[in-house]
């Protein structure tokens, strides 16, 4: 298993735990009054689960298992692969911080985090598609 796949899969598992933990906290809202930034974290929780866990796990396993691109670069350019991982995760982290913050106290910094998050996650998705496209082929 390539190093990057291990990073993807282990990061995905961390996000799964965090997403479920946040889900449990949100489910406790009726029992314990929650601060506003947590009450507004519903979209963040969904994206922790769908992007942080599901998408990231798919990216990692596809990077490992899909047919080789070339003999010289079996999984495509290494720099693009690492950049894809970094962009996806920095983008998601920016969202985790920026989205509840922007909902509670809108401002330039929180808004900037969301803009950065949108751009970074988009780059992560496009990077993965570019990296994977040539590997989706017959043997």
């Amino acid at each position: 298993m390539p190093v990057l796949t291990r990073w993807y899969v282990k990061t995905a598992m961390l996000y799964l735990v965090i997403a479920l933990l946040l889900g449990a906290v949100l489910a406790g809202n009726g029992l314990v009054p929650l601060p506003a930034f947590l009450l507004l974290a519903g979209p963040t929780q969904i994206h922790l689960f769908v992007v942080g866990w599901l998408t990231q796990l798919i990216f990692g396993i596809a990077y490992w298992m899909f047919p080789k691109a070339t003999a010289e670069q079996p999984r495509g350019p290494d720099a693009l692969a690492v950049l894809t991982y970094v962009c996806l995760n920095l983008g998601l982290l920016a969202r985790v911080i920026g989205e509840p913050w922007q909902a509670v106290a809108p401002g330039v910094v929180a808004g900037g985090l969301l803009v950065a998050s949108g751009v970074l996650q988009w780059l992560g998705g496009v990077g993965f598609a570019a990296l994977t496209w040539p590997r989706v082929r017959g043997r």
Binding site: E99, Q102, G111, L114, V119, W122, V126, A129, V136, G138
Partner: protein
């Protein structure tokens, strides 16, 4: 990788880029305080990312990975898998197209997606069985 898997997985990658693009635009809109009008795109974003990307990738990978039981050339049910690919993507196009306020178009899209799921089942059903090699 069989040709139908190539088409399904590449279609899934296209849906991934489109879905992420819409998601990025909405998130940027939220960041600059212009999310109100963009929130209508949430169902399209979900359709592309969940059905277009994730489910379609799973179907394409399943058609690639599931055992062929020694079949040479196209696997069993290959014709059904092409029907599934065509219907699945047509259904998504209808659902996305109907998201702008045409519930009948969305209903047609959902029915086409149902047809795609049945066709996919027909394609893989006979390939899901004990191989005789594994103990489980």
């Amino acid at each position: 990788m069989p040709r139908v898997s190539i088409w399904m997985i590449r279609s899934a990658l296209v849906a991934l880029v489109l879905g992420f693009s819409i998601g990025a635009i909405m998130l940027i809109g939220k960041g600059i305080g212009a999310f109100g009008g963009l929130s209508a795109a949430i169902p399209v974003h979900v359709e592309l990312v969940v059905l277009g990307w994730m489910v379609q990738l799973a179907m394409g990978a399943a058609l690639w990975i599931l055992p062929r039981f020694g079949a040479r050339g196209p696997a069993r049910g290959a014709a059904w898998s092409w029907v599934a690919w065509a219907l699945w993507n047509s259904g998504i196009v209808f659902v996305v197209g109907g998201a702008a306020g045409a519930p009948v178009v969305q209903l047609i899209g959902r029915l086409i997606e149902l047809g795609a799921a049945i066709a996919f089942g027909a394609a893989v059903w006979s390939r899901v069985r004990a191989s005789g090699i594994s103990a489980m």
